[in-house]
C-alpha cells in the first residue's frame, strides 16, 4: 500500500514540476499566483490556459500509451511491441497528409483526419488478421501492422511528392509529437474518452497474465482467447488513435515504460497496468517539460526527449535482465 502512495506522490510531484517549469521563465510565486488567478492576466493565461492543460494532457497521454504498450506486448507476445504497431502511425500520417493536400481547413481538420486515418489502418489490419482465422493470430497481427503501416507510409510519400501544396511536407512536422496543441477542451475530451478503453483493458488484467504463458496454457487456465484479443485490440486501437490525433507520434513511452514497470513493480497486470499508467504519465510530463524548456524559446519534439531518456534506461534494464 505504501508503495502505491509513494508512486502517486511521485506522479503528483512531476505534475507540479511540469507546471512550474516553462520557457517564459516564471518563478514559483508567479506560477502559484497564476494558478490562483491573482497574477497579471498574461501570466494567468500562460499558467492556466497553456501550462496546466498541457501538463495534464501529457500525463494522460503518457499513461495511456504505457498501458496500451503493456497490453499489446502481452497480446502479440512480443516484448518489442508498442502502441503504434498495429499500423496506427502510418494511418495517422496518411490522414494528416491527405487533409493538408486536400486543403481541408477547419480548426480540428488535421487531428480528425489523423484519427480517421489511424482507425482505418487499424480496421484494415484487423480485417487482414481475420483472413488467418477468427482467432486474431498474434503473428498475423504483427505482420499486418507492419504491412499496413508501410503501405500507408508509401502512399503518404507519393502524395507528398506530387501534391500541388508545398505545405504537405510540413504534415510530417505535425506528426513529430507535441503537446503544444493542448487545451482544456482537448484535455477534457481525452480524459472522458479514455476512461472506457482504460477500464476495458484493466478488466482484462487476468487474461493478459495468462496470455504471457502462451496460447494453449492460457486457454487451459480459462482465458477466452478470441474475445480477449478482439476486445484488447479494439480498446488499444481506439485509445492510441485519439492520443495520436491529439499529440502526434511519441515513441518509446509505450515500449519502455511497461518493461520498467514489470522490472521495478510487478509482472501481474492488475498491478502492472496502473503502475505503468502512473510511470508513463510522469515520464511524459518530464519529457514535455524538458522539450519546452531546454532550448527555450525553441521547442524540441517530445519524441526526441523520450528517446533520449528511453534509450539509456533500456540499456540499463537489458543489462540487469541479462544477469
Amino acid at each position: 500500500m505504501s508503495r502505491w502512495l509513494l508512486l502517486l506522490g511521485a506522479s503528483a510531484a512531476t505534475l507540479v514540476l511540469g507546471v512550474l517549469v516553462g520557457p517564459s521563465g516564471l518563478d514559483v510565486a508567479s506560477v502559484l499566483s497564476g494558478v490562483l488567478g491573482t497574477a497579471e492576466p498574461s501570466t494567468v493565461t500562460i499558467v492556466r490556459d497553456l501550462r496546466l492543460p498541457r501538463v495534464l494532457l501529457a500525463f494522460l497521454v503518457g499513461g495511456s500509451l504505457g498501458v496500451t504498450g503493456a497490453a499489446l506486448q502481452a497480446l502479440v507476445r512480443n516484448p518489442l511491441a508498442d502502441p503504434y504497431l498495429l499500423g496506427l502511425s502510418g494511418g495517422a500520417g496518411l490522414g494528416a497528409v491527405a487533409a493538408i493536400a486536400l486543403r481541408v481547413s477547419f480548426a480540428w481538420a488535421i487531428p480528425l483526419a489523423a484519427l480517421v486515418g489511424a482507425l482505418a489502418a487499424v480496421m484494415l489490419v484487423y480485417r487482414l488478421a481475420l483472413v488467418a482465422g477468427a482467432g486474431l493470430d498474434a503473428r498475423v497481427l504483427l505482420l499486418g501492422g507492419v504491412v499496413v503501416g508501410a503501405f500507408a507510409a508509401s502512399v503518404m510519400g507519393a502524395i507528398m511528392a506530387v501534391a500541388p501544396a508545398p505545405e504537405v511536407r510540413n504534415a510530417l512536422l505535425w506528426l513529430l509529437g507535441s503537446f503544444g496543441r493542448a487545451s482544456w477542451p482537448a484535455v477534457t475530451l481525452f480524459a472522458v474518452y479514455a476512461i472506457i478503453p482504460l477500464a476495458v483493458v484493466y478488466r482484462l488484467a487476468r487474461p493478459l497474465d495468462l496470455l504471457t504463458l502462451g496460447e494453449e496454457p492460457a486457454e487451459f487456465l480459462g482465458a477466452d482467447l478470441v474475445r480477449t484479443r478482439r476486445t484488447l485490440y479494439v480498446a488499444a486501437s481506439l485509445l492510441t488513435a485519439v492520443a495520436v490525433a491529439l499529440s502526434g507520434l511519441i515513441g518509446f513511452v509505450g515500449l519502455i515504460v511497461p518493461h520498467a514497470a514489470r522490472f521495478a513493480w510487478s509482472r501481474l497486470h492488475q498491478a502492472l497496468l496502473p503502475a505503468t499508467f502512473l510511470l508513463g504519465g510522469s515520464l511524459m510530463v518530464l519529457a514535455d517539460a524538458a522539450a519546452r524548456t531546454a532550448f527555450a524559446p525553441l521547442e524540441l519534439p517530445v519524441g526526441v526527449v523520450t528517446a533520449l531518456i528511453g534509450v539509456p534506461v533500456f540499456v540499463v534494464m537489458i543489462r540487469r535482465w541479462a544477469t
Binding site: T45, I46, W108, P166, N170, G180, P297, P301
Partner: protein
C-alpha cells in the same frame, strides 16, 4: 515556399559541414567564371528566386529550364519545368542542354553540384538569404552572362534604395511587435536569421523572435504568449483555421484578431520586390492601432 524549404531543412535537422561553394565556377577578378568559356546562352535555374532574378535582369530568354515552383515572374511559366529543385532529376536537366546550372547556395545542394559536375555541367552556387544578396546575385549573374547592363543598373538602384531604407529605419523601442508565423502546428516562427526579419525592421516594426539566429524555428505557444506580439503576420495562409483552436486564444493578438495575412513569393525569398514589400508593410503597420 522558400521559407518552407528552409523549414523542411530545419526539420530534417542535419547540417552538413561541407561548404557547397567549393569548386563551383565563381567569377575571377575579370568577371568570367572559371570553366565557362563564353557568354552563357542556356541556363537552367534550380532556384525560384534565381529564376525570377534572371528574368528581371533581362536574361529571361536564356532560361531554358526552371523548377516546378519557379513561376515568378509570370513569363517564367512558359519555360519548361525540370521538376523539383532539391535533389533534381538529372535527366530532365540534361535534356535542356544547359551551359550553366544555377543553384541556391546551401549545403543541401552539395550532392547535386557533384552530380552535375560529374556529367560535365558547370554550376554556379548563389547565396540568396539576406536582402543584400539580391544586388550581389544580380551583378554576379550579369557578369556570368557576359555583361548585362540591366543587371548592373538594377543592382545599383537596389543598393541605393536599400541603403536609404536602412539609414531611415526608426529606432526600435516602442515600435510594433510583430510575430511572423510560417506554420501553425507546431508553431514555426520567422527568426532573426531570415531576410523577413530585416524587412519587418525596415518597415518600422520589431520581430519578437529576432533573438533566434536561425531563419525559422519551432517554438512553444507559451513563448509566443510570453512575448505578446502586437500583430501576427501570417505568411502564406489566409487566417489558418487552427487559430480558432482554444490553445491559440491564449495569445492576445489572436484573441483580438490582430492578424494580417500575406501571400506571394515576395515573402518567400529576397528579390528586388522586397523593397516594395518593406513599403507595403510600413503602410500596414502605420495603420494598425495598438
Amino acid at each position: 515556399m522558400f521559407v518552407r524549404s528552409a523549414v523542411a531543412l530545419v526539420a530534417a535537422g542535419a547540417l552538413l559541414a561541407c561548404d557547397a561553394g567549393e569548386g563551383t565556377p565563381r567569377p575571377d577578378r575579370s568577371g568570367r567564371p572559371i570553366g565557362v568559356e563564353r557568354p552563357v546562352r542556356r541556363i537552367v535555374s534550380l532556384s525560384p528566386p534565381l529564376t525570377e532574378l534572371l528574368f528581371q535582369i533581362g536574361a529571361g530568354e536564356r532560361v531554358v529550364g526552371r523548377t516546378h515552383w519557379g513561376t515568378q515572374p509570370p513569363e517564367a511559366a512558359d519555360v519548361p519545368s525540370i521538376g523539383d529543385g532539391l535533389d533534381p532529376n538529372l535527366e530532365t536537366i540534361l535534356a535542356r542542354a544547359p551551359e550553366l546550372v544555377v543553384l541556391y547556395h546551401t549545403p543541401a545542394n552539395a550532392s547535386t553540384i557533384e552530380r552535375l559536375r560529374a556529367v560535365g555541367v558547370p554550376t554556379l552556387s548563389v547565396p540568396m538569404d539576406q536582402l543584400e544578396h539580391v544586388s550581389e546575385a544580380a551583378r554576379l549573374l550579369g557578369e556570368v552572362l557576359g555583361g548585362l547592363p540591366r543587371a548592373d543598373s538594377l543592382a545599383d538602384a537596389y543598393d541605393r534604395d536599400l541603403a536609404a531604407l536602412r539609414t531611415g529605419a526608426p529606432a526600435l523601442p516602442d515600435t510594433l511587435a510583430i510575430l511572423m508565423l510560417a506554420w501553425d502546428a507546431p508553431p514555426i516562427v520567422i527568426g532573426g536569421g531570415s531576410f523577413l526579419s530585416e524587412i519587418v525592421r525596415l518597415a518600422g516594426a520589431r520581430n519578437v523572435f529576432a533573438d533566434i539566429s536561425a531563419p525559422s524555428a519551432t517554438v512553444s505557444l507559451e513563448s509566443i504568449a510570453a512575448r505578446d506580439p502586437d500583430l501576427l503576420l501570417i505568411i502564406g495562409e489566409t487566417e489558418p483555421a487552427v487559430l480558432d483552436r482554444p490553445e491559440w486564444r491564449a495569445i492576445p493578438a489572436v484573441r483580438d484578431r490582430r492578424l494580417v495575412s500575406v501571400q506571394g513569393t515576395a515573402y518567400a525569398w529576397p528579390s528586388p520586390r522586397s523593397l516594395d514589400v518593406v513599403r507595403a508593410l510600413a503602410d500596414t503597420f502605420r495603420g494598425v492601432t495598438r
